[in-house]
């Protein structure tokens, strides 16, 4: 079983999979984009007040440092000192998160100011602590006063920064809320757009893939309804639809060719049947004619016998002889029709025929026989009713217009195998006349005729003829002996007489059943 191989990318399965994958990927990307935007905005909203927390934390740490410095200066205790250094470290770390550069933004410059002021504060505070350690009262009091002033400045700046940050962050918060709504709408719009695009892509792709199937199904429906004239053009596509379309195209062409051949076959069969019926009709007509022909000779034969007996009873010998010969002639016709006969019987039939004609034409027919004594006429078998039609032709067409001078000669002799075209020993029967003769065209016409081709002259069947044509004689000879070239006509032309030769092979190769069955 042949399995169709498709290109990977032209397969309908692959294309549908690709379309579905593309659609899913688009929707996934749209969702990821929407989720990412929402997530970022939410994160920004969450972090919007983080800077305030950092600033507040810085203020708290600064206050703690100031308090621990005051405690140390008051008590010179270790714990406040440790606290101060811890807060100092925390302050340094926290101020590291603040801007330290000169940039064109008020809030960032506020950060920078706080950062540097805090560093200044820590330096002054450290000076105060060192002075306290050194018991330099005036210096640490002065440093404490400076530190307190700076602490107040820094607190004011932190307050200002915090307020402005809060104001800005509140504005940012509102902006982010607006952004959030925009992001929601944008995401919704994007998802709708992507879904619409995906839907359009699906529709177009499916239409492109399935569309030809619609035309194919319509064509198939027409074909199912018996309309084979529908045209399905060949597809250039390499996928299953293309293969099915092309296969349908080829199948349709095959069906058309088959129907055409069937139609031709039926027409031929009908023709043959018509011919057969025609043959049967002709056969039946021939059989009818044959039966009629049988009936008449029997009736005539019996009548002639009755006439012959009547003539004998009345003593009319010549009449009795005539009727007797007539009766023999017709009896032979009736008896031998469809079978073979001895050469002697054929010659006797010819004799009777000549006798009858001579009675009719008052002995005008000159008939001669030259029969070789070496031939046993009783042993030579041949198809019946061969010689009489030949002799009849010689009389009817050869000497018909000149009975007085016309002579019909019947000669029988042996012909060795090397002197004839059959390649075997034959008995040669020659019927010659000195009458009208024949042209070469006439001879060729007679020799080329075959029974049933309709080319036989019609007058043969009327008048005084026995109704058996030369083509019939030739055909029966060939069928009886299974050979050709057994019959020949020779004439030098009109007025030179005609000679018809029949060769009877002594070794009969084949005996036609059809002949013997007639």
């Amino acid at each position: 079983m042949k399995r169709t191989q498709f290109r990977f990318f032209s397969s309908v399965q692959t294309r549908i999979s690709a379309v579905v994958a593309t659609v899913l990927l688009l929707v996934l990307c749209a969702n990821i984009f929407a989720f990412r935007q929402s997530s970022e905005t939410v994160q920004q909203i969450n972090e919007v007040f983080a800077s305030n927390a950092v600033i507040m934390n810085l203020g708290d740490t600064l206050a703690a440092a100031q308090a621990s410095m005051y405690d140390y200066l008051s008590t010179k205790g270790t714990a406040p000192l440790e606290d101060f250094y811890r807060y100092e470290q925390a302050l340094r770390e926290q101020t590291e998160e603040l801007n330290g550069r000169n940039v064109g933004n008020d809030l960032l410059m506020l950060e920078k100011n706080i950062r540097f002021m805090t560093h200044s504060y820590l330096r002054v505070a450290e000076d105060a602590i060192q002075a306290r350690r050194g018991r330099n009262v005036e210096e640490y009091k002065a440093d404490y006063a400076r530190a307190s002033t700076l602490f107040e400045y820094i607190n004011n700046y932190i307050y200002t920064l915090n307020s402005r940050r809060f104001s800005q962050n509140t504005e940012n918060y509102l902006t982010l809320l607006r952004n959030m709504r925009v992001v929601e709408r944008m995401s919704l719009m994007m998802i709708i757009v992507v879904c619409a695009f995906a839907l359009a892509l699906c529709i177009m792709s499916v239409r492109a893939m399935i569309g030809p199937l619609g035309a194919l199904s319509a064509a198939a429906e027409n074909v199912a309804g018996g309309d084979f004239s529908v045209d399905v053009p060949e597809s250039q596509r390499q996928d299953e639809v293309g293969v099915v379309t092309n296969a349908f195209h080829k199948m349709l062409a095959s069906i058309r060719a088959y129907i055409e051949s069937q139609r031709a076959s039926l027409e031929k069969e009908a023709q043959m049947k018509e011919n057969e019926l025609s043959m049967e009709a002709h056969l039946k007509e021939a059989q009818l004619k044959f039966l009629q022909a049988q009936i008449n000779p029997h009736f005539l034969f019996n009548s002639l016998n009755a006439g012959s007996q009547l003539a004998m009873m009345e003593g009319a010998e010549r009449t009795e002889h005539f009727l007797s010969r007539m009766a023999q002639f017709f009896r032979y016709n009736v008896k031998k029709t469809g079978g073979d006969a001895a050469l002697s019987e054929e010659i006797e039939s010819v004799d009777n025929y000549i006798y009858i004609l001579n009675v009719r034409f008052s002995g005008d027919i000159h008939y001669e026989k030259q029969i070789s004594q070496d031939i046993d006429l009783e042993q030579v078998r041949m198809p019946s009713m061969i010689l009489q039609p030949i002799v009849e032709n010689a009389i009817q067409h050869g000497i018909h217009d000149d009975h007085e001078n016309g002579v019909v000669t019947l000669a029988v002799d042996d012909v060795p195998e090397n002197e004839n075209e059959t390649g075997t020993d034959c008995v040669r029967i020659t019927v010659a006349d000195n009458g009208a003769g024949m042209s070469r065209a006439m001879i060729a016409s007679i020799m080329s005729r075959r029974p049933g081709d309709g080319s036989a002259p019609q007058d043969r069947e009327g008048g005084d003829s026995t109704g058996i044509a030369m083509e019939n004689v030739i055909a029966r000879l060939e069928l009886y002996y299974g050979r050709k070239n057994l019959f020949s006509i020779w004439s030098d032309g009109p007025g030179t007489g005609t000679e018809v030769t029949v060769l009877l092979p002594k070794e009969k190769e084949h005996v036609s059943d059809s002949d013997s069955g007639r």
Binding site: N102, V103, G104, L108, M109, K112, T175, V182, A196
Partner: protein
């Protein structure tokens, strides 16, 4: 089918552009919220502007100086602005030192300890430039302003044109922030100028009236009392835009136009309108742009070279009703030029 494809393409295109536009808008707004220093212009230096006077003239000076700083790669900050408390000039200078500023421009307000504060700043290596009021013994590196001699001459000239025959009562408004020496110099120079130029028959009695600009609303009270008092001057000389506007307002309210001649100071919208209506005959003004340029130049020069000229003179000019329109056009042209630059 083809129409459907075209329509779908157009709709999808528009929708795509809309989504991209919205995305860009959201991103740009989100970016605006960022306080990353890298997103802003960096400056090499950080100068502080110190002034407790927030009058229109000082605001103009600050803006012009800020423009000059911008061109010089410095960020100018008005110290103490938008703070919960008010700081004196001395406190602001201490703040500036704590902030480790690169330079200070100060308009002296006469506050206690200002000279010491300037001295401390100088000791920390931070140059201080005074404007309009000089503190020569404070350790400031330079002074940018009008010479008191020049000012006395110009005021004297204006007085001569305004004096009527006979005795003229002239009152010079001073500020608590003005140093006594400077006031004395100005006074002396004015008297000298009048003596030199006064025709016979015109005499002048000059006195001063102090107005404390550090106290809110004090100027208006003092000027009203002065103009409605028994010793109402014939000519009133103002030395600040606030004083001038208060005097104009009092003249209008108490119908003193023509009875008191006011020599104004600086040009504001109200003063310009008064000039056009000839409520006042003249107002003296300075070129704030040149002042700002000189301040920045002085600081830059000191930071670069370690020395600088101790005095940058700023010219004083008068605007009369005749020249008011020309002055306004010139200012507008300069403003547009700076914006374009």
């Amino acid at each position: 089918m083809r129409k459907f494809i075209y329509l779908a393409t157009v709709i999808l295109g528009f929708a795509g552009i809309l989504v991209i536009g919205l995305y860009i808008r959201v991103q740009s707004q989100a970016t605006k919220l960022d306080v990353n220093p890298d997103l802003f212009q960096s400056y090499q230096k950080h100068y502080l502007f110190v002034s407790s006077d927030e009058s229109r003239m000082l605001r103009d000076i600050y803006e012009r100086t800020a423009s000059a700083c911008e061109a010089s790669g410095a960020w100018l900050e008005w110290c103490g602005q938008d703070m919960p408390g008010r700081y004196s000039a001395a406190e602001c200078i201490d703040l500036s030192v704590a902030m480790e500023a690169d330079g200070i421009i100060v308009y002296p307000d006469g506050s206690a300890g200002l000279e010491e504060a300037i001295q401390r700043a100088y000791g920390q290596g931070i140059p201080v430039v005074t404007i309009l009021r000089d503190l020569p013994d404070s350790g400031r590196v330079s002074y940018v302003g009008v010479s008191n001699y020049q000012m006395g001459d110009r005021y004297g000239g204006q007085l001569l044109s305004l004096m009527h025959n006979g005795k003229n009562e002239v009152c010079l408004l001073t500020d608590a922030g003005d140093s006594e020496n400077e006031t004395q110099l100005l006074y002396t120079q004015m008297v000298q100028a009048i003596r030199n130029g006064a025709p016979s028959g015109k005499t002048m009695e000059l006195r001063t009236q102090s107005v404390d600009s550090r106290t809110d609303f004090d100027a208006e009270e003092v000027i009203r009392d002065l103009l409605l008092g028994k010793t109402r001057p014939d000519i009133l000389i103002c030395q600040s835009s606030v004083q001038t506007e208060c005097a104009i307002q009092a003249m209008i309210e108490y119908n003193l136009v023509g009875k008191v001649q006011v020599i104004g100071y600086y040009v504001t919208d109200q003063i310009l309108q008064a000039l056009r209506q000839e409520l006042i005959p003249v107002t003296m003004t300075i070129d704030t742009g040149a002042l700002g340029q000189d301040c920045v130049q002085a600081l830059d020069e000191y930071l670069a070279l370690g020395r600088v000229s101790s005095y940058y003179n700023i010219s004083l000019s008068g605007v009369t009703p005749m020249t008011a329109d020309r002055y306004e056009a010139k200012q507008a042209e300069r403003s547009s030029g700076e914006e374009a630059g």
